[in-house]
Amino acid sequence: MKKEMKKFLAAALICAMSIGLLSGCAGKSDSGSGESADASKTQEEASAPEQTGSAAEQQAPEETQADDEGTIRVVTFFAGSDQWAPVYKEVIDDYMAAHPGVTIVDESQPTSGTQDLFRTKIQSDVAAKTPPDLMLYYNGEESKMPLDSELFVDLKPYMDADPQWSANLKEGAMEAGRSEDGMQYCIPYIGYFEGMFYNKELFDKYDLAEPTSWENIEACIDTFVENDIVPFATSLMKPSYMVEQLILAQVGAEGQKDYFDDSWAPALAAMKDLYDKGAFPADCMTMTEDDIRVLFADGKAAMMINGSWTVAGLKDNENMRMITMPALPGGKGGSDVALSGFGSGWYMSKEAAERDDVTLHFLKYMTSPEVMTRMIAVGGSSAITCDAPEGASPLEVSANEMLNTATKFVPACDSQVVREAWLNMTEPGIQYIATGQTSPEEILAQSRSLNEE
């Protein structure tokens, strides 16, 4: 009687365990494979940038052997359909080929708009105190999560210790990864810029002046609406980029730092004004980023406020241009300010730093001019002094001009404020403002209090 029961339980247990073992074993054979061969000196020298190794002298053991053996966990968003993923994979493979003792466990996951599993993955890793050795994660306000965890190192000492490496890191870019008390919590990597795209063909077709001033914009709206052209391809489900540009156009570079100040109200009111005039698509409340990009690319919309990442998809069209949004009436913005910055950077975990120099060497490799050139050949702007990739379309030329005309550069403020506060104002705040259900001042007051919490 009891025997029967025991037998059954035993069977169940064996079953469960064998499944466990099965998966356990299979796992082991994967990760073990990379650690076989020894590093040979000549191959090391072949990949130049990290060889100076002065940071290593400062605090790591003398044996150089150990520096090039080990397994490191790296998380980035260069995976799947991400545009940098193929290059990143090549770059890692090259590194592993040059350093046979090093195994890089790549746990990258693409970051995406709605259900962002990349963030969730890192959040849970940090909450469980098992951070990756090296990760490419957001900076600015979002650095709070890794910073609060105290699991990551200050990279400043490493940069000071190896001037040959850090000389290539652009000072202007590095600021984006520095906290108020001077801690270099991450090394910013690939940069972005945002602005207003417009389709010159449509302006020419209806004999309209290009949208280089706010009057021109106001003047073109009615004509476009009459001709069934959407003036602004904007989604009110994700109006962030447009709101950023309008705020900058209204309050300028300095005013943009007075987060959620009432001086922002006219910019938000401009959204309502445009909405009332029918300047947005009819279903702007439920459109996604993908939808508006198709709408604009198809020539069904005249203007779109978006970022550098859309350039690649639009540059083949000769009629596309990019400028900074002109100042609103009485506003302080305009072409002298450009919205650009570095949204993410490399973080190194304390555990990895204390263990050995393998992670640091790999970080130096990733941030070397050689690798950087390969990465930005795909897209984005560089935080590291390196050769620019060649061949430019009219759109790229205009974007370059936009950046060259500007004397002040400011990062997007969504990365500088508490996320909840920013989202309260934009998603869905703008919808409430546009339909007149809540005033801009009320929304700003709500976001202010969320930002100060």
Binding site: M5, L9, A12, T114, Q115, D116, R119, T120, Q123, S124, V126, A127, K129, K144, M145, D148, S149, L236, M237, P281, A282, D283, M285, T286, M287, D291, L295, K300, V418, R419, E420, L423, E427, P428, Q431, Y432, T435, Q437, E453
Partner: protein, 286 residues
């Protein structure tokens, strides 16, 4: 059959799993709901009832409750109704039995995200299917999803996707009705309709109770579909407790507030299923 020892022995493995991976996190969530927990930081600070206070004054919570009820009503009437009807009809069919069972199940195999995307493209303005059909008949393009319609439009795919699921469950339940009962009913001259009402449905009463419980919990957990089709908008009009909680946690990084929403969600769901059980279940079972 009563045996305390075996009762707990048989429950033990399930108990270990559920305690570790569901009950313990649930208690953590209760704890978090009384803290101010931002950015997934390892430190939380005690915040008393402030999350619940915010919740009471948050108009979106009310909208979410209203939407959850609308969805539940739709699901009860349509999903359970249609699946029960289909199950009764199919159980009386010898031909095509396998074919129908397979086909009805297909929507469940396809992820909610994909079905959500399909419906988003159906409702779309510029290139949407509904507008295409409308223009075909000489009509004007419409904006289908607005503040008033959003919750109904997201309920349609939700109702539709899981009909096959409850269909299979009902069919499984009907399998244990002895064939002789139906035979003798036939001999007594009872029509198929009468048989369904007086024999089949009472015989699978326990299955219906289980289904009702699953429907309630299902409605609280619906998430992907709404997130893909409307993102909870326009103006939070199609927000559900689940989508709102997800936004609070993983978009706004406010773990404390998200936990409070989760607790309200679970508490309310338990209350609702307790009431249904009380109503639907015959007293003598326990």
């Amino acid at each position: 059959m009563k045996s305390k020892k075996y009762f707990y022995l048989f429950l033990a493995p399930a108990g270990v799993f559920i305690l570790t991976f569901l009950i313990y996190p649930l208690f953590r969530t209760i704890y978090y709901s009384f803290t101010s927990w931002k950015n997934f930081s390892p430190k939380q600070s005690f915040a008393g009832l402030s999350n619940y206070n915010r919740l009471i004054h948050d108009p979106v919570i009310l909208v979410s409750f209203r939407n959850t009820f609308i969805m539940m009503a739709g699901v009860f009437l349509f999903q359970v109704g249609v699946s029960l009807l289909l199950a009764i009809l199919v159980s009386k069919t010898k031909k095509m039995f396998k074919f129908l069972r397979t086909v009805y199940f297909i929507p469940i195999l396809i992820s909610a995200t994909a079905i959500g995307l399909m419906f988003r493209l159906i409702y779309g303005y510029e290139y949407g299917l509904l507008n295409l059909i409308f223009q075909w008949f000489g009509g004007e393009k419409q904006v289908w999803i607005n503040e008033k319609t959003s919750i109904f439009l997201v309920t349609i795919p939700i109702m539709w996707q899981y009909v096959g699921f409850y269909f299979v469950i009902f069919l499984t339940g009907m399998s244990k009705i002895p064939g002789e009962i139906s035979e003798s009913a036939k001999l007594d001259g009872i029509s198929s309709f009468q048989e369904a009402i007086y024999i089949t449905i009472p015989m699978i009463r326990d299955v219906i109770v289980s289904v009702v419980i699953l429907v309630i919990s299902g409605c609280f957990k619906v998430f992907d579909m709404v997130y893909v089709i409307t993102g909870g908008g326009p103006m939070n009009s199609s927000e559900l407790l689940s989508t709102y909680m997800y936004s609070a946690a993983f978009r706004n990084y406010n773990g404390g507030y998200a936990s409070a929403i989760a607790i309200v969600m679970v508490a309310f769901g338990v209350l609702l299923s307790a009431i249904t059980r009380r109503i639907l279940e015959p007293k003598e079972t326990y």
